[in-house]
Subunit: 430 residues, 2 copies
């Protein structure tokens, strides 16, 4: 379906072509996560991605894709091929297609030299290449590496170059490209909002949405991500109309789904939990076994998490459970490490060792083999404890080792979220 | 560089274009994992992926990409757009570009009806569309859904259609496409091997490779992944020739790069460390601060890691450092939590608390804000300790919070790897 013509009246909507350069993507050495990131960012700013192409580190392939993109879309974003080595050819291909020379940006050359000298290394000669820019383009500083981004308005087209490493690309996009596009794209309105759900499966979610009845709004897209389901709402028209469409859809969905919706857009389950923890002035200690530190890592991905997350223990073996947490060795022998009683005790011990509001613990068999007990791979216990007592959940998770680690951590976060939502108001304001 | 002409003599090498159809990929709601899967499968069968395109659910966009693919490559694989709904247009676009009619496959229609009746539902009328095939094509049964794949040899080109859901696509590929391509591509042999390096930057690595001198082998591709660099070696020709090319390239690279190479292909740094730990019958305890559990999670991603990794502590706050690890509070006050002395003590306390061969600790400022000490974001200390004493590294890492967590964990793993490699042989065999 053509996004631009789904409504009766004309909508001005900028189109973008993405060109991702790199043999390593074409031969499957790395996944092309940049395309997904850029697509989500562009759509959220009202820019439709017309086509994404992945091309080889070859001048002609880059050039062909570039010519195609410039012909069909107002914006072309090229990622990758901006490194210091001989097979980094994006600059050269662009220079040749646009018939514009490459010029040295002396300031950035100094930045590169500084980058190396800070690390006690002299700049290798080939890095000089990274300070070469297409004439007339604006340099976009790279806070995380030596390849800068660049942006060029040329013959009514906007061309944006970004380095391939995802962390560098993301940093440059958010710091420089996003504000630039906000100005550039004043006229067009196309809005996208993602509502994120946890604790409900895709089928049950669909039934709840069907139960809403009449749906006179743009169709919804769903996608399951691990144990979460994400729902995408679209609005278009003039700014007020687009916003109103999304608002109406969101209201209907929130009515039907309630607390299953934990957040929207860039929010994460861990981020939502972090916000609730701070709002409740609560603190947390963890004890992880089969999740092996992943839950802790998900929580510490949230900036400022040290305000509420005091610390955790990865008691990966029985020895660690006994020595670090002081779990009763008789209980360990009798019930086995993967058991409701041990998990509850782990949550309690973690909580008491740091004097926190909440203690949260995970045990389980992540596989590929079971432990000495012979309990099935995928069996997981999650316990949460606070002043009101403790609760424990038994799960049977499918998928491999990494999936089990991830899903167990997601369920633990959602369990904590639900406890925080049910915390009495007087405790919340204390 | 054209893959087909890198060698002096002619090598027949089939090229493939991938076309992934779907608005949900273009707007970033789902990641395009099909492209990576197909790329890896094709390359492993000696077929080079020339270009991957992601296009919208629009007849013209699909048609344009198809014409381009048929012009440039011997094989075109189209994924997605084979569902039962009105915006599934792949069949129609193909029929129009090839000027071939769609015909009903009665056998598959019965399969679809059976699929629904098994679930106690009558087949919705629009699913009939999924039994329509381009005239002359061979149906590829779908063991997991109602959209079959199809395969058509036409004017010297091979066109393969596969449904978009990854589990269905993978099942059809492995069951029907792979054996077909094996016959189809008898002539060509093309092999790939990836060598993975740690502890060396991309530029310095390139200089070391240049110092090898004459390089009469296929050009190398590099990719930086965090603090690792991956090198891809290619061999082509007949099977023996391809294998020999890779062997010679690997030998030269191992001579030049030595222990910077930690592994190959699917091996990970954590996996290599796990192997060395087990070979040395060594055990490990961790104390993490700024990496927040990520290092522990990377280690526990490796199956069987509980053999050597006894447990760890995520001492995310000063309170946790004092209470859980027993770090000297005076030292914490005097030196600050992010300091060499505290980090060494953390490694020692982690080691002694579980009686392990190695203790490994990370502290640092992951940002976005500094701590009370005002030390710079990105300052990280990593300490490792064993019977021979302790060593400590000071790093200044760039990038955001997540990058700092990841890189600190990578450096810690590599530090442990180097200590394990230098362990005296008598200890190794004990």
């Amino acid at each position: 379906m053509d996004e631009q013509t789904t409504k009766g009246h004309e909508v001005t909507c900028l189109k973008a072509d993405l060109i991702c350069v790199g043999d390593e993507i074409l031969n499957g050495l790395i996944e092309n996560t940049n395309a997904g990131f850029l697509s989500r960012r562009l759509w959220s700013q009202g820019i439709v991605v017309r086509e994404t192409a992945v091309v080889a580190d070859e001048r002609d392939s880059i050039g062909d894709a570039l010519e195609r993109g410039l012909e069909k879309s107002e914006i072309v974003i090229i990622t990758g091929g901006l490194g210091p080595t001989d097979d980094d050819l994006t600059r050269e291909a662009l220079s040749s297609v646009l018939d514009l020379p490459l010029v040295l940006d002396d300031c950035w050359l100094q930045e590169i030299k500084h980058f190396f000298s800070q690390r006690g290394i002299e700049m290798p000669d080939n890095n000089r290449k990274q300070a070469m820019l297409i004439k007339g383009s604006k340099l976009l500083p790279n806070p995380a590496g030596t390849a800068p981004g660049a942006l060029l308005e040329h013959n009514g087209r906007l061309i944006i170059m970004l380095p391939g490493p995802p962390n560098e690309l993301k940093a440059i996009y958010d710091q420089s490209v996003k504000p630039y596009l906000k100005e550039y794209n004043r006229g067009s309105v196309f809005k996208l909002k993602t509502l994120k759900c946890a604790g409900i499966g895709e089928s049950m979610l669909e039934e709840k949405i069907k139960a809403i009845g009449e749906w006179d709004l743009p169709p919804l897209s769903f996608v399951a991500r691990g144990l979460e389901v994400h729902l995408q709402l679209k609005g278009q028209g003039d700014p007020a109309e687009a916003a109103e469409t999304i608002e109406r859809a969101e209201e209907k969905l929130r009515g039907a789904l309630g607390d299953y919706i934990y957040g929207s857009d860039d929010e994460t389950l861990a981020g939502t939990v972090a916000e609730l923890m701070q709002k409740n002035r609560a603190t947390l200690a963890l004890a992880e076994s089969c999740s092996g530190g992943l839950l802790s890592s998900m929580i510490t991905d949230v900036p400022g998490s040290s305000v509420f997350y005091l610390g955790g223990l990865v008691t990966y073996t029985e020895k660690a459970k006994a020595k670090l947490l002081g779990i009763d060795e008789k209980l360990l022998k009798k019930e086995g490490a993967v058991s409701e009683k041990v998990t509850r005790q782990m949550a309690e011990k973690a909580r008491s060792s740091l004097g926190t509001t909440f203690g949260l613990a995970i045990t389980g068999i992540a596989g590929p083999e079971s432990d000495a007990s012979g309990k099935p791979v995928g069996l997981v216990y999650i316990a949460a404890v606070n002043d009101n007592g403790s609760s424990c959940k038994e799960l049977n998770l499918g998928g491999g080792r990494l999936t089990i680690k991830e899903r167990a951590s997601q369920v633990a976060l959602n369990m904590l979220r639900k406890m925080l939502l049910s915390t009495p108001p007087d405790l919340q304001s204390s």
